[in-house]
Each structure stands twice: as C-alpha cells, then as structure tokens.
C-alpha cells in the first residue's frame, strides 16, 4: 500500500467495524474475514457481543496480515467503519491522524432516551450529529461521511446497510482485496433473495468511496 492515508503502521491492516446490534456488523466482519482468508491472507478478528443484543453496542475488529492479537490498541486502527454516529464516537480512542473513517451519519436512537426523558433523568435527545462528526474530524482528516441507511433503503432494504458500508471500505482500493473480488466471493454467501438488493447497496458504497477518494487526490 502506497497511500499516505495508510502510512505509519507497524504491521497488517487493522479494521474496526462499529455499530449497534441488528445493523449487520458481525455479518460484515465475518464476510470480510472469509474473503481475506479465501485470498490467502492471515486474518484475526475480535468481537464483543456478551449481553449485547438488538440495539446494543457492537464492535468488531478484523486484522489482515498482522499478528495474533484480535484487539486493536489505542490510536492503532487503520480503518474505522462506523455504522452509526454515537458508536463511532465511542470508538474514538482507536483513531489516529492516519485512520481512514467511513461514517454513516444516520443515527440509531437508543430507546432508553425515552425512558430517561419520562423519568426526568435527561433531556431525552440524541447528541447533535454535527457535533459528533466534528469530534471524529478532530481525530483524523480522513473522514468520509454518507447517509448509508438512506443508500441501503434506496437499494431496496435497510438490511443492506452493511453492504453499503463494506462497499465504502473496499471501494477505497486501500486493502489487498478489490471490490470486484469481494463481490464475486461474497455473493454466493449472501441470501439469494436479497442478492439484487445487496449488489446494488454494495456498489452504491463503492461508488461513494471512489468519489471520496478521487476528491482526496484532487484536493
């Protein structure tokens, strides 16, 4: 990899995927692992789902051609794929100035906010999304935002959110697997009924990513 965005690593590519239970984070991580293994790479991954369930915080790491540790240290993520703004900010300590972030700006509102509101334990509001984005931008200049939930919906289902996000990551051309290689591997492993939707969603992500990165080069 020659891109300046990825410089400063000691070994491997460390990818962190964050979101909430039900958004497809774990499926995305699993697919990513499988495609790298299929193409002969060494992969370790970590997940923490403990008591997390639908709506809980989910973090999953995928480390390609690195060592044996499944967890990423402070400031050592090369890529953060944020399915949700609050969850991305929760993962801020993993970012450095070199980290490339793909960030879905559509929030998943925690239902507890309603409870806090009626119990007068808080104002019941989700944090200001612009403020969250600026926190991420303060950590690294390489932040690419999009409304991936909207993109998934436009592709046919919000369930395809994870494919939009994977499209962003793989469309970057910063990883040793190309978007096309990923799709030809992944398509057989996804539910046939959603193949069309997933395909559209994935390539929407890829297109976005390519235009982001083209923009970076241009400016």
């Amino acid at each position: 990899m020659t891109s300046a965005e990825g410089a400063g690593r000691s070994s491997g590519r460390r990818i962190l995927i964050v979101g909430t239970g039900g958004q497809g984070v774990l499926t995305a991580a699993r697919l990513l692992c499988d495609v790298f293994v299929d193409r002969g790479h060494h992969v370790v991954s970590g997940q923490l789902h403990g008591m997390a369930q639908r709506g809980g915080s989910v973090q999953s790491s995928v480390i390609v051609d690195g060592g044996i540790s499944p967890r990423i240290g402070r400031g050592r993520a090369d890529f953060v794929v944020g399915f949700e703004p609050v969850e991305t900010v929760r993962a801020l300590s993993f970012l450095s100035e070199q980290t490339v972030v793909y960030l879905n700006v559509a929030p998943v509102i925690p239902f507890v906010l309603g409870q806090q509101y009626v119990l007068k334990e808080g104002d019941g509001r989700y944090p200001d999304v612009e403020k969250l984005l600026s926190c991420v931008r303060e950590s690294t200049p390489h932040v690419h935002t999009l409304d991936a939930t909207e993109q998934a919906k436009a592709s046919g289902s919000t369930k395809a959110l994870n494919m939009v996000m994977l499209g962003c990551l793989l469309g970057s051309e910063l990883l040793p697997v190309s978007a096309e290689q990923f799709w030809s591997f992944g398509e057989a492993r996804l539910p046939p009924a959603l193949r069309k939707v997933n395909h559209a969603a994935f390539y929407r992500g890829v297109e976005h990513s390519r235009s982001f990165h083209a923009g970076v080069v241009a400016s």
Binding site: C33, V44, V89, F111, V112
Partner: protein, 629 residues
C-alpha cells in the same frame, strides 16, 4: 440440510479462520472425541452449539445436560467405558460441578476426558470472575490456557492424549477474548480409529470409599507428576526473541504482548516466554530464568505465574527482579487490554509513556440490554406487580428475566446464582414473615431450582414461585430446554394453541411441582389478563408454597417460524395525551419519545398488545399489516 459444517472438513494442512470455541471443537474432533455433554453459558456456548449441529454427521453422542454437574458426571461415566469424552460450560458451571470434579482425578479416567470451562474476566456476562487455572493446584487438573484459536485446537487435541496417559481429567480454560475471537487454524487429520467401548468391572478402581481413596490419593500425586513431565516436553511453552529482559505471559495476554513488542520494535531486545499450561514445569521456568535478569509477568486475574516465577527463582537462588501485579504494573481485577499491556511494557522497558491526543466528546447515551419487544417476561412482570405490589420482595434468577432489575419492573431485589431465587425467597420469607416471590425460568428451574423447591415445601415457606416457561434457553442463544417441544419445532407452540400441551415435551413443570406435594399450582398464559390476574390473586392469599407457571414462547424464537405476522401497533397522536404510562411501565424498546411525541417503531413492534391494553385513552391501536417485514 445444506452440507456438513465447515469444522468437519477433512482437508489436512488447509486453513480456516474460526472462533476459539470452534477451534476447541476441531481439536476434539482431531483427537477422536466420541461423547459430548454441556450446559450453555457465555462465553462457552458455541462449543456445545457446534457439537449439537455436527453430532449426527460426526457420529458423536451429544446432549444438552440438565446442569453442569450432571454434564460432567455423564461424560465421566462415558469415559469409564473407554470413550473419549468432553463437556463444556462457563466458569460458574464448573463451580457448580466442583463436587464430582474434585473426586474425578482420584478415581481417574479411562478414555481421555477434557472439560472446557470458559472464563469471563471483567464480568462481561457473569456475576463474578474466577481464575480456574487454580484447578491445577486445587484439584490436580492439568489446565490449558490458550492465547489463540490455533492454541485452542492444538491444546485440546493434546489434552486428550495427556488425559489418557495420566488418567487425569484435563481442564481447557479459554477466556472470553479467546472464545469469541477469530484466528487462523490449520486443519489436522481426522482420525479413522476411535476408542473401543468397554467397561470392565473393578470396584476397587472406581469406588472412592476411604479405603480405596487413600490409595488413590497417593497414586494421584504420581500421575500429576507425570503430567508435569509430559507438559515439560510439550510445545506449549514456546520462547522467542532474546535479551536479558524477559516477559512471561499467558492466555490472551500473550497475544497482546506479542503485538505490543512488535509495535514498539522490541522484538530483538526482549525474551518472550509463553505459558500455555499448568502446572508450569519447573524446568521451563529455570531455563527462562537463566536467560533473563528482569521479568515482567503478563497474566489476567490472580498472580499465579508471577508467584511460580518468584518461587522458582527463590528456591534455585536465581537473582531476578519480577514485575507484574505485586509491583503495580498490572491490576488483579478484570481482563487486560492491548493498551494496559502497552503501558506496562513501556514502563518495564524504560520507554516514556505514550502521548494520546484527547478530544472533547459529548456525553454518549448507553445502549443497555433490555427485554425484547413482545417478550412474555415483560407481561408476566407487569401482571405480578399489579397483584403483589411494590412492597413484596422479589428474588430473581439467571436468565433473560434478570432484566427485570431496576426500572420499570423492579422485579429483582436479590440475585445470586442459578436456582437461588427459590432458596433465597425461603430465607427471606421465613425471617420476615412476608410472602416472597421467586422468579425463575424453565431451564434454570430444572437446572437447580427443583431441590430448592423441595426444600421450601419441607419448610412450609410462604413463597410464590413464578416459573417463566418460554420453552427455550433464550439468553445463551436458544438452546433447547427440557420444556422445549421436541415433537414439534419449538416455535410452533403458540399461546393460543394450548397452555397445557398434551403431546409436546415429555416434561411437565406442573407434574414435577405437584409431585413435590404442592397443591396450589396455577398454569397461566401471561397475555390472558383475566385468568392471569385471578391466579396471581389466589397465589398471593394462599398459604405455604405455591407455584404460578407462566407459559408463553420466547418471542424472538417464536417469530422465526410464526406463520402469520401479528399486526403491529401505532400511537394516535390526537388521542395520546403524553401521560408517559407506556414508557414508564413497560420499558419496551419499540416505544420512543421524539420531541415530546410518543411513537412506536413499527419495525421493532411485535404486536404483543401490552401497551394497547395499558393505555387509558385507547390511543394505541393496531395498524393494517402492510408488506411483510
């Protein structure tokens, strides 16, 4: 069924990226495991769930046992007939099974036997953290402590051989981060030959009455020494790097430290020693101590390796400085992280602390676990609270229903361990003179609630036991419980069908409870408000022990096979006066408050109707089902 599970592939030399728990299964398969039993518990559950899926293809005797004590005893019985057996559980399960586990090394196994007991440092899904590595000294178990899935595979395979050669049961002890991490595993050969099934009667060998046990005690020491010798020549104590500064590490700490050493560029200046098993052979420690002057010990929980290193140095007059927990480089509590390890290694290597840029972050809302929309436990809690009120003491138990803790249900005033709700309720009812409620699920009830209930009957305690029967062990990932209908798919039993299923599961909670002499037994469907309330009122005014069995399937499991989608609900904003009752009382994750307006997320709503029943203004109504979700 679509082909064999990937863990069964016969492709020696091939590679797979798989979870630590599945690597354990693979190791056992490569060792020719023939018998498997378990009780689920995070983070161990995928071991059993994988065996459940492959048992038929792999020709393995399999069971989800009633509890961990039984699981161990069943597997031990199988081992005495010569077969290789395995059983798995979480750390708390091994505590529960410690009675049989403590005498098994005395009696000794025939076919190799490996117990998997997964640890949970940091109490991610447990009420305590334990260091089961102490089973090596406490009860004479060889214990394996993998750092990676590949370690887990190799150690499990080797553990069967070690077990058979020493006749000791062996403990495989991964922690959450190993169980649930994916890593590269090399596939070994699957054996064609398996142990023969053969039981030879020999009571002097298998019956630990004191006369025999005294002899066994002496033999046990010999067998344990032999295990230590075998471990000394095993591949589970690798040493890399070089230099007079040494790091000795175990478990996931070894994975973290090897990454940190690489990131800091210290590979050439540090001697790194892994500890993969216990007892740590003295020869391993001495040859490590020969190479170093200063040692940093990296291990989670108790300073076991640290004390072994210090003791070996002291006994053999080696002058080394030992750093770890005693020196304050690491805490005794909780799991380690790559950052914690990096900070300690920097301090040990004399490098400055790492500067981390700080960013001001707004307060972030938490996303705590909650009962799912439509969960029958929510309805049961609601019904019981209406009748028993706020003053009653509620003892709760281990399962999804522990989420009755706090607002809005206040259904968990005390909690301890599996089955404890009933016994704690006995103690509280007896001394306070107040009728006390115990909540317990179907799987937990048969796990360890039955003896407590018999005890309460014997003492004539004024308790009401509310058994929440959702036909499944939900929290650990939908393993069948004894009330799971084995004749039909679990999910096909709808509450409308029948509360007393006549052709379903062979188990009847009601029959079991009546068999203990309890006459006041009420079967209810919590969603049927009228009958539920009547039964609870009768229970409240009753004398002695009574039992209310709430039958209703786990909604998540049920939804998978539900033929018709139930109508979902919406709130009519014109009728809603924002009284907040629905949010305040139900804690349903489908109901939100957006800019002061109460709304139901129809993607999340399950159509249980509880909120509609509760609403005093009739503002919550079903919406016509549009497209299938």
């Amino acid at each position: 069924m679509a082909g064999k599970h990937e863990i069964l592939q016969d492709r020696p030399g091939g590679h797979l990226c798989t979870l630590g728990n599945l690597a354990i299964v693979r190791g056992a398969l490569e060792a020719g495991v023939q018998f498997f039993s378990c009780y689920p518990g995070t983070p161990s559950s995928e071991v059993g769930d994988t065996f459940a899926r492959i048992a038929e293809d792999a020709d393995i005797w399999f069971e989800y046992s009633i509890n961990e004590k039984v699981a161990i005893e069943v597997a031990f019985g199988a081992s005495l007939t010569g077969v290789r057996s395995m059983c798995s559980m979480k750390h708390l399960g091994l505590s529960y099974a410690s009675d049989p586990a403590s005498t098994m090394p005395y009696v000794g196994v025939e076919g190799g036997m490996v117990i998997v007991s997964a640890g949970d440092p940091s109490l991610i899904t447990s009420p305590n953290e334990q260091d089961q590595r102490h089973f090596s000294r406490f009860l004479y178990y060889p214990v394996f402590d993998p750092a990676t899935p590949e370690d887990a595979r190799l150690m499990t395979r080797y553990a069967f051989e070690l077990s058979e050669k020493t006749r000791l049961p062996v403990l495989m002890r991964p922690t959450t981060r190993v169980c649930h991490s994916g890593g590269m595993v090399e596939l070994g050969a699957l054996p064609a030959k398996r142990n023969e099934v053969r039981f030879v009667k020999d009571p002097t060998r298998y019956v630990p009455i004191p006369t025999n046990a005294k002899r066994m005690r002496m033999e046990l020491s010999d067998r344990f020494r032999r295990a230590e010798e075998m471990l000394a020549s095993s591949p589970f104590f690798p040493r890399t790097g070089g230099g007079r500064r040494g790091i000795i590490a175990s478990g996931i700490g070894y994975a973290y430290v090897s990454q940190v050493i690489e990131d800091l560029g210290l590979s050439e200046q540090m001697t790194l020693q892994q500890v993969g098993a216990y007892p740590i052979p003295e020869s391993v420690l001495l040859s490590f101590l020969d190479e170093v002057d200063r040692v940093l010990v990296v291990e989670e929980l108790t300073p076991l390796v640290e004390e072994c290193v210090s003791l070996a140095a002291f006994r053999n007059q080696r002058s080394v400085e030992v750093f770890g927990k005693h020196s304050g480089h690491f805490p005794i509590e909780n799991e380690y992280s790559p950052d914690l390890v990096e900070d300690a290694v920097r301090r040990f290597a004399g490098l400055g602390a790492r500067s981390v840029p700080s960013v001001d972050v707004p307060a972030l809302p938490a996303r705590p676990p909650v009962l799912c929309p439509g969960c029958p436990h929510r309805t049961s809690f609601q019904r019981v609270r209406e009748v028993f009120g706020k003053k009653t003491v509620y003892c709760n138990d281990i399962g999804c229903y522990t989420l009755g803790y706090g607002e809005p249900f206040q259904a968990c005033d005390v909690l301890l361990c599996m089955g404890s709700s009933i016994s704690q309720a006995s103690g509280i009812a007896r001394t306070t003179g107040q009728r006390t409620v115990a909540y317990i699920g179907d799987s937990t009830f048969f796990h360890s609630g039955l003896p407590a209930l018999a005890n309460a009957v014997q003492a004539h305690d004024d308790i009401t036991v509310v058994i929440l029967d959702n036909y499944i062990t939900a929290m650990t990932g939908f393993q069948p419980s004894v009330t799971t209908d084995r004749c039909h798919p679990v999910a096909s039993v709808r509450k409308e069908d029948e509360v007393h299923r006549e052709n379903g599961s062979p188990f009847s909670i009601e029959d079991a409870v009546r068999g203990l002499g309890i006459t006041d037994v009420f079967s209810i469907d919590p969603f049927e408000e009228g009958t539920a309330r009547e039964a609870l009122k009768a229970a409240k005014t009753g004398r002695g022990v009574n039992v209310v069995v709430c039958h209703s399937p786990c909604v998540v499991n049920d939804r998978r096979s539900r033929k018709e989608q139930r109508p979902v609900f919406a709130i009519d904003q014109d009728a809603c006066n924002a009284c907040s009752l629905c949010v305040r009382q139900l804690g349903c994750p489908a109901i939100f408050v957006v800019d002061g307006e109460y709304v139901i997320d129809q993607d999340l709503c399950d159509g249980c109707e509880l909120c509609a029943d509760l609403c005093t203004r009739d503002a919550i109504r079903p919406v016509a089902a549009e497209v299938a979700k």
